[in-house]
């Protein structure tokens, strides 16, 4: 019974934690630009994050080694340091985008000035991260983030053409602008397969002291939690396809998805959507700043982890504080958080291969894994996804330039 409860709670927080600002921006824009045509891409992205999260959770449970330990051990100092730098740039940009998202939602709720709310938001996030233990952080943001389920209700309430929705799950090539379509394919995959989710998930597994007995929880949480989380992405895209595409609304503002919930469900829909977005992006801001600190500490071999007091892992604590400060500095410049989000997602795609390769190698290494090595099934999917990731990593930046960031 206790284990059942633990699994259920893990699933709930995975669903609530699935969506971040990258998913909000790319799913909404994809729906508003191509209707239901890109739904299949979300399915591919989610299967990928399930496969790699399960793998790195299993590696963490079996060997107690988090991802960045493995990156360094497997690709060496030089390539490891390049991966570290790339991943830190992406973590920082993503954290900045999420903080911008927090400030925008607070502004919509309160009407106070944007820069003041950036400060307020960051101070709030820092205090919460400093005070709450790891488990509570995960749960607070995961559970309240479940308010985003309002989008699933909205997606039904807007009465989409279900035949069209079903058709969107069949991979195809668009009749519209091919390059822009490809840009959104890459962006949606990048939003689903963000590297920080992998860093955070595996470090979190070590924080929670996972052992072999937790392998089942790992499997169920990653498959069902992320699988159900994908329904939030579908819902965002469907709502945007029904409400924004016919009216020619280009959702260049983070508040736009919430308006979709309002149109379908009235004021209560709007409030639930805003609270859900606030906690989803706030939680992601914490995950990205912590990922920055996890990666640095694991690369250089420092003490790390929220399970220690800040003075017990001091460089780790200073690192995540500095991440928050730098990220807040970036949004304070007034640069549009939606634009920062697009850059962070596209650059994160470039950093993915060097993150995923060591996981795949170590998950097959009996010295680390004993009898819990990858099954043939995991390997086939893992390799297929690795090839896919390489392809999108190579095409991401050219596509962003050629399509002017999806503007055509």
């Amino acid at each position: 019974m206790k284990q059942f409860l633990q699994i259920a709670l893990g699933i709930l927080s995975a669903i609530g934690g699935f969506v971040d600002i990258g998913d909000l921006v790319f799913n909404t824009q994809a729906g508003a630009t191509f209707g239901f045509e890109l739904l299949w891409v979300v399915v591919i992205g989610v299967i990928g994050i399930i496969v790699y999260s399960e793998m790195c959770g299993r590696v963490a449970a079996a060997s107690k080694r988090p991802v960045f330990d493995l990156v360094r051990e497997r690709v060496g100092f030089g390539a490891g340091l390049s991966t570290l730098i790339a991943s830190e740039v992406v973590n920082l940009l993503t954290c900045a985008a999420e903080i911008g998202g927090v400030a925008i939602v607070l502004q919509l709720l309160s009407g106070l000035p944007y820069r003041f709310l950036i400060l307020l938001g960051v101070i709030g996030l820092v205090v919460i991260s400093w005070v709450l233990p790891f488990e509570w952080l995960e749960r607070l943001f995961g559970y309240v983030g479940l308010c985003l389920l309002v989008f699933a209700v909205a997606a039904i309430k807007v009465h989409p053409h279900w035949g069209g929705v079903a058709h969107g799950f069949v991979p195809g090539v668009s009749s519209g602008n091919r390059l822009v379509y490809m840009y959104f394919v890459v962006g949606l995959l990048g939003a689903a397969l963000t590297p920080y989710e992998v860093y955070f998930y595996s470090s979190g597994a070590v924080e929670d002291a996972w052992g072999l007995k937790d392998l089942r929880i790992n499997k169920i949480t990653s498959i069902i939690g992320y699988g159900l989380g994908a329904f939030l992405s579908f819902s965002l895209m469907i709502v945007a396809a029904v409400l924004f595409l016919p009216r020619g609304i280009d959702p260049q503002f983070l508040g736009t998805p919430a308006l979709g919930a309002e149109a379908a469900l009235g004021k209560i829909g709007l409030v639930l959507a805003l609270v859900g977005i606030l906690f989803a992006v706030g939680g992601a801001a914490i995950e990205t700043s912590f990922s920055g600190a996890y990666n640095l500490a694991q690369f250089f071999g420092w003490q790390w982890g929220k399970r220690h007091r800040p003075s017990g892992a001091p460089r780790f604590a200073l690192s995540w504080l500095v991440m928050f400060v730098l990220a807040a500095g970036i949004v304070m410049t007034g640069y549009d958080p939606v634009k920062i989000t697009e850059y962070s997602v596209i650059f994160s795609v470039v950093a993915l291969p060097l993150t995923f390769l060591p996981i795949l190698l170590v998950a097959n290494d009996p010295a680390y894994m004993g009898s819990n090595r990858n099954s043939r099934f995991s390997n086939v999917i893992g390799i297929v996804y690795f090839v896919l990731i390489l392809a999108i990593a190579v095409s991401a930046i050219p596509l962003m330039i050629l399509t002017n960031g999806g503007q055509g």
């Binding site: 080694r65 330990d69 360094r72 051990e73 100092f77 500490a297 250089f300 003490q303 790390w304 003075s311």
Partner: protein, 115 residues
């Protein structure tokens, strides 16, 4: 030190692995190894090099990082207790002059409330 039987790959099994002291504290990585007996005799690992200019043998970025930092700490191989997925040491980090960056940062962090 004890390792499993058979051949042992220093490059994969030791280099870049986590150093953990007697009390389970993370205290750096195996940044490089110093070997003896390379010209005649049995090659043997003499020292583990940690931090600072130990990175200079590790590619272009390593040379750059080494130029910006101080001297490496040399830990005699005889201080190694066990090699598993981590390299476990026989003594505390402090005795081996490891983890000093964390010690310095701790003095700063302790001034913050709730640390």
């Amino acid at each position: 030190m004890t390792v499993s039987d058979g051949e042992f790959d220093l490059g994969l099994g030791v280099l870049d692995h986590q150093l953990v002291d007697r009390d389970g504290r993370n205290c750096g990585k195996v940044d490089d190894l110093e070997l003896t007996g390379l010209s005649g005799g049995e090659p043997e690992v003499a020292f583990i090099l940690v931090g600072g200019n130990a990175w200079r043998g590790r590619g272009v970025l390593g040379r750059l990082a080494a130029a910006l930092s101080g001297n490496a700490v040399r830990v005699p191989w005889s201080e190694v207790d066990e090699v598993s997925s981590v390299v476990k040491l026989k003594r505390s980090a402090q005795e081996l002059r490891l983890g000093r960056g964390d010690d310095r940062a701790a003095r700063l962090v302790r001034r913050l409330p709730g640390a």
